[in-house]
């Protein structure tokens, strides 16, 4: 009832506002007239009586205001009034409004952009039953990227399934990609998964058509013959054809029958790698580590309990008698998977996102300090207005609310513009993500990362409101303290209140401190990136073209291919501007390669982990890796005994100071030969990076591609000119000779290197942008605040000059003040910046944190900015005619 009546009074107050005002007016008028009657009766003339009555009643408007405040509609009514007035004030000073809105938009936009991606990548929950209970099992091998890979052996699966007490379901299922084709369907790469029989049941997924894969489909040892597709695949590829059940398709070269469609909206285990097809996995003893594992925690079991038990259980796997040397060093990780399992994309972005979230937070703080400064300066210029309002009966809370309404209005405008900026920023970022080597060419749903959802909008709105309140608070409080008398006399011209001046100064200092942190960390990341790109690679990066071929469906038999590839190399060599060409199994920075344990002849105790590559003759000549000893492979080696070339690191690790030429080296567990293999060392080459720019070149063993009858899919061509210039000639030559072997991709070595360091490039690129923005904001903020401090001292400066100070003294004084503030900021910012670097170094190994240069550059920049920002207003102050300044009041 109460709610209704007050609601009614709000509504009626809003609609009948003018009538209520009139009534109030009439009642108060009657009161004054009554009083005047009484006074008249006591002997005063009517006119005097009325005047006296009005005087006695006091501030008529003030009481009206108080009465209004007791009315129900007051809050809403004044809010609308405040906002409307605020808008008018903002329109009146478009320059201030534009700068304030832009400042906020940059701060809010940067935060929204990063949050949008973080939200899309790791905050949304999967469309499965009870996603909170879902965990993912990962194995981690020392030296490999964190947190690890989801792949387990049959034994590991069996032991975990049979002996754990913490999981209610152990689900076989991971994210892979397949090529799907059918009679009238172009081959298409899609994400999918090989799954166990309980996958759909344990995730709580129903069938939209047909039936789902169950335990009866999972046959030990049989390759999959059936598949379930996603609803969106059914729609986009089959147009919801009801005849899909029983349809024959080809999945990665195997004939498959579709038996069902999963329920609408189910897209598997990851938001960005949405799965379209699921195949039953052959659940039985198998040599590899190919089982992806998920599990559902039993009710009441915490993640920590599960981790503790599984760590113990995994020891059984690791210590099994037949476990290889790799397995012995493995660790098990258990990570929550309710927001999506780890994918190459989320792995690639997790570090950059963490670094960037911290940076955008700083940027927002800086924007806040900036806006607070702008509002403070503006508040000073509006003091007269405030005084008039106080005299006219505005209450303190009313002024406070008015000022807050204005700053909130600003932050809402900033929020809207910021969301727009964020939209473009995320799309720009996505283009960088897409160039990453681990995901290029895969059907990643980037739109999941860029589409702002309700969470994102709420997030932006929330930071906008907080920013508005934070920035608006101080100026609003100071405005509400306006004393009518002093302000009306323009006494404010004489000087600033101490606290207000201190607040302004501390704003300058904090802006300097924040931008120092931003600029110096940006400089660190840029330096890091340039170091990465210019490290000693062990090969020549420029003028090198890399071509990836796909021999899978060529139709040639294995005996023909080595000849054909040699023929291709010869024809490529004949292209003008080509120095040399070669084949290999891997090209540097292409991605994860092969590795094994190497045993050197005469040193059975020495076991070195070595990376492996299979290369054709002229590989080292083409890549520009110098020989230190011995010779290159040649076509004569084909028929002879197995030979290998090793790099310096491998020579040192395996043979110490001995000459390795002519000695033998044995590789165990070679992935492709599945057994030990012994090679005679015929050459030693300089160390070269293998697949990771950050890590030192690993010990590497190069085997002869032709001798081992391998087909190298990686073609490398050294050119005399910019290698992009010969791309079309290469296509032409390759197409003429190998019509059935498509070129998967052509890129320069530099591009391939860049695609391997997307996270580092992202951090450097974005933090540079943020550092630049930070510096820009600091310039604007410093200029505004210093101009304001100097302007508020105009009178003081006038007095000084009247007393004989020279212009240069005034200039010096103002500049010294500014320098002081900047230095205070630097003093605060320096430890922050160093601390920030330490934090960043914890996230990114071998960050060049020892370098002082970025810091010095940033500090010098801040000082320059501060002096320029102070010089302009100081020059204006210097030119002030003392008489004018004194008369100003």
């Amino acid at each position: 009832m109460r709610i209704f009546s007050s609601l009614r009074s709000v509504v009626s107050a809003l609609f009948h506002r003018s009538r209520m005002d009139e009534e109030m007016e009439e009642e108060l008028r009657a009161h004054i007239q009554d009083r005047a009657d009484d006074l008249e009766r006591s002997g005063l003339p009517r006119a005097e009586a009325e005047r006296r009555a009005r005087l006695e009643f006091g501030g008529y408007q003030k009481f009206k205001e108080e009465i209004r405040e007791t009315r129900g509609a007051h809050f809403l009514e004044t809010l609308i009034q405040d906002l409307r007035f605020g808008l008018r004030m903002l329109r009146k000073s478009p320059g201030f409004t534009a700068i304030a809105v832009l400042t906020l938009a940059l701060g809010i936009g940067a935060n929204t952009a990063i949050f949008t991606i973080a939200n899309g990548l790791m905050l949304r929950t999967l469309p499965v039953r009870d996603p909170g209970q879902l965990v993912e099992l990962l194995h981690h091998y020392p030296g490999e990227p964190e947190p690890g890979f989801n792949g387990f052996s049959w034994d590991a699966y069996r032991i975990i399934r049979d002996s754990n007490h913490v999981f209610s379901d152990l689900i076989v299922g991971g994210v892979n990609f397949f090529t799907v084709s059918a009679d009238n369907l172009q081959p298409q790469t899609v994400f999918g998964g090989g799954i166990g029989g309980n996958f759909f049941e344990a995730l709580g997924v129903q069938a939209a058509a047909g039936r789902l894969i169950g335990p009866e489909d999972v046959h030990t040892g049989d390759p999959a013959s059936v598949a379930v597709v996603s609803w969106s695949f059914w729609k986009s590829r089959f147009d919801l054809d009801p005849g899909i059940i029983g349809k024959k398709i080809v999945v990665s070269d195997a004939p498959i029958t579709i038996i069902g469609v999963a329920q609408r909206g189910f897209y598997g285990l990851s938001h960005e790698a949405q799965q379209d097809i699921w195949l039953p996995i052959s659940l039985g003893p198998s040599p590899g580590w190919g089982f992806g594992l998920l599990a559902r925690l039993k009710p009441g079991v915490s993640l920590q309990q599960a981790r503790a038990e599984m760590a113990v259980l995994f020891q059984t796997v690791v210590n099994a008698p037949d476990a290889g040397p790799f397995v012995k060093e493995m660790k098990l990780r258990i990570e929550p998977a309710g927001n999506g399992v780890m994918t190459p994309l989320s792995q690639m972005l997790s570090t950059p996102l963490r670094v960037l979230m911290a940076t955008v937070g700083l940027l927002l703080l800086l924007a806040c300090a900036n806006l607070a400064g702008l509002l403070l300066a503006r508040g000073a210029s509006r003091r007269h207005e405030m005084a008039v309002r106080v005299c006219l009966g505005a209450g303190r809370t009313r002024l406070l609310r008015q000022m807050l309404a204005e700053s909130l209005l600003l932050s809402l405008l900033g929020c809207i513009v910021g969301i727009f900026l964020a939209y473009f920023a995320t799309h720009a970022l996505i283009r960088v993500f897409a160039s990453g080597r681990v995901i290029s060419g895969l059907p990643v749903h980037f739109e999941v990362l860029t589409n702002p959802d309700a969470h994102v909008l709420l997030f932006s709105l929330a930071i906008a409101l907080v920013t508005g309140l934070l920035c608006g608070a101080a100026p609003a409080v100071s405005a509400s303290k306006t004393q009518p008398s002093s302000a009306l006399q323009q006494a404010s011209r004489i000087g600033e209140s101490k606290s207000r001046r201190l607040f302004g100064k501390s704003l300058v200092a904090s802006q300097v401190a924040l931008s120092l942190v931003l600029v110096s960390s940006a400089a660190v990341f840029v330096e890091y990136l340039s170091q990465l790109r210019n490290r000693d690679l062990g090969f020549e990066r420029n003028n090198l073209l890399l071509v990836t071929l796909d021999f899978a469906h060529s139709g040639y038999d294995d005996a023909q291919l080595p000849r054909l590839s040699q023929e291709l190399v010869m024809r490529l060599d004949a292209i003008p501007d080509v120095r040399s060409a070669t084949f290999s199994d891997m090209s540097p920075m292409q991605g994860p390669g092969a590795s094994s344990f190497a045993f050197a002849e005469g040193h059975p105790e020495k076991q070195t982990q070595a990376s492996i590559n299979y290369v054709a003759p002229d590989y080292f000549k083409t890549y520009g890796t110098p020989f230190l000893a011995g010779r290159d492979f040649s076509t004569r080696d084909e028929a002879g005994s197995a030979v290998a070339i090793i790099n310096e690191a491998a020579a040192h690790d395996s043979f110490g100071n001995e000459n390795p030429i002519g000695k033998h080296i044995t590789l165990s567990h070679v992935t492709l030969t599945k057994g030990d293999k012994t090679f005679e060392v015929i050459g030693v080459v300089a160390d070269a990076k293998y697949n990771d720019l950050q890590q030192a070149a690993p010990p590497t063993i190069y085997a002869d591609l032709l001798q081992q009858s391998f087909i190298g899919s990686q073609l490398a061509i050294r050119t005399r000119i910019d290698s992009r210039g010969i791309a079309s000639a290469v296509r032409q030559t390759e197409g003429d000779l190998l019509k059935t072997v498509p070129i998967v991709r052509i890129m320069t070595m530099n591009q391939q290197m860049d695609s391997s360091i997307v996270p580092q490039r992202l951090i450097a690129m974005i933090s540079t942008a943020f550092g630049g923005l930070g510096a820009l904001l600091a310039v604007i903020g410093l200029y505004g605040l210093l101009a304001y401090t100097v302007a508020s001292r105009t009178h003081e400066i006038g007095v000084r000059m009247a007393l004989g100070a020279a212009g240069i003294d005034v200039l010096r004084m103002v500049l010294r003040d500014a320098l002081w503030m900047v230095c205070a900021g630097l003093a605060i910012g320096a430890p922050l910046a160093f601390w920030g670097k330490r934090v960043a170094a914890g996230l990114i190994p071998d960050l060049p944190v020892g370098s002082f240069l970025p810091f010095v550059v940033a500090a010098a920049m801040m000082i320059a900015v501060g002096l320029i920002a102070a010089y302009l207003p100081a020059r204006r102050a210097m030119r002030v005619d003392p008489m004018v300044a004194l008369r100003y009041q």
């Binding site: 009554d34 009083r35 006695e56 009465i67």
Partner: protein, 113 residues
């Protein structure tokens, strides 16, 4: 003329309720009546009256209607509602208890005299 006493905040409401309990009154009349029944000891600031009246109306303790005063002016008359009457009784009791308690406290003599 008696010396003016300070009106504590909150007591104004009680006085208004009391004044109006004797019959419907308009704003200026309420002032006069309070002066009269306090024998001139309590003077109400004129402007403070109206916010208080609005507040009491909003709380449902008073209701208002338009009528013509004895000075022949159209103005708003206030009278007690049932809730207002109840509140007045409670406030009177509370006030009396408070006054009695303070009075007895003030009457206390040092022990042993």
């Amino acid at each position: 003329m008696a010396e003016h006493a300070q009106i504590l905040p909150g007591n104004l409401d009680l006085l208004i309720l009391k004044a109006v309990s004797l019959g419907p009154l308009y704003g200026y009349g309420i002032l006069l009546r309070i002066e009269q029944i306090s024998r001139g000891a309590l003077l109400i600031e004129q402007g403070a009256l109206y916010p208080a009246l609005f507040r009491l109306v909003r709380q449902g303790l008073l209701k208002a209607h338009w009528d013509t005063s004895e000075n022949n002016r159209r103005t708003k008359f206030y009278e007690l509602t049932a809730a207002g009457r109840k509140r007045l009784r409670e406030e009177e009791d509370g006030w009396n208890r408070l006054v009695a308690a303070i009075a007895s406290a003030l009457k206390a003599q040092p022990e042993g005299t």
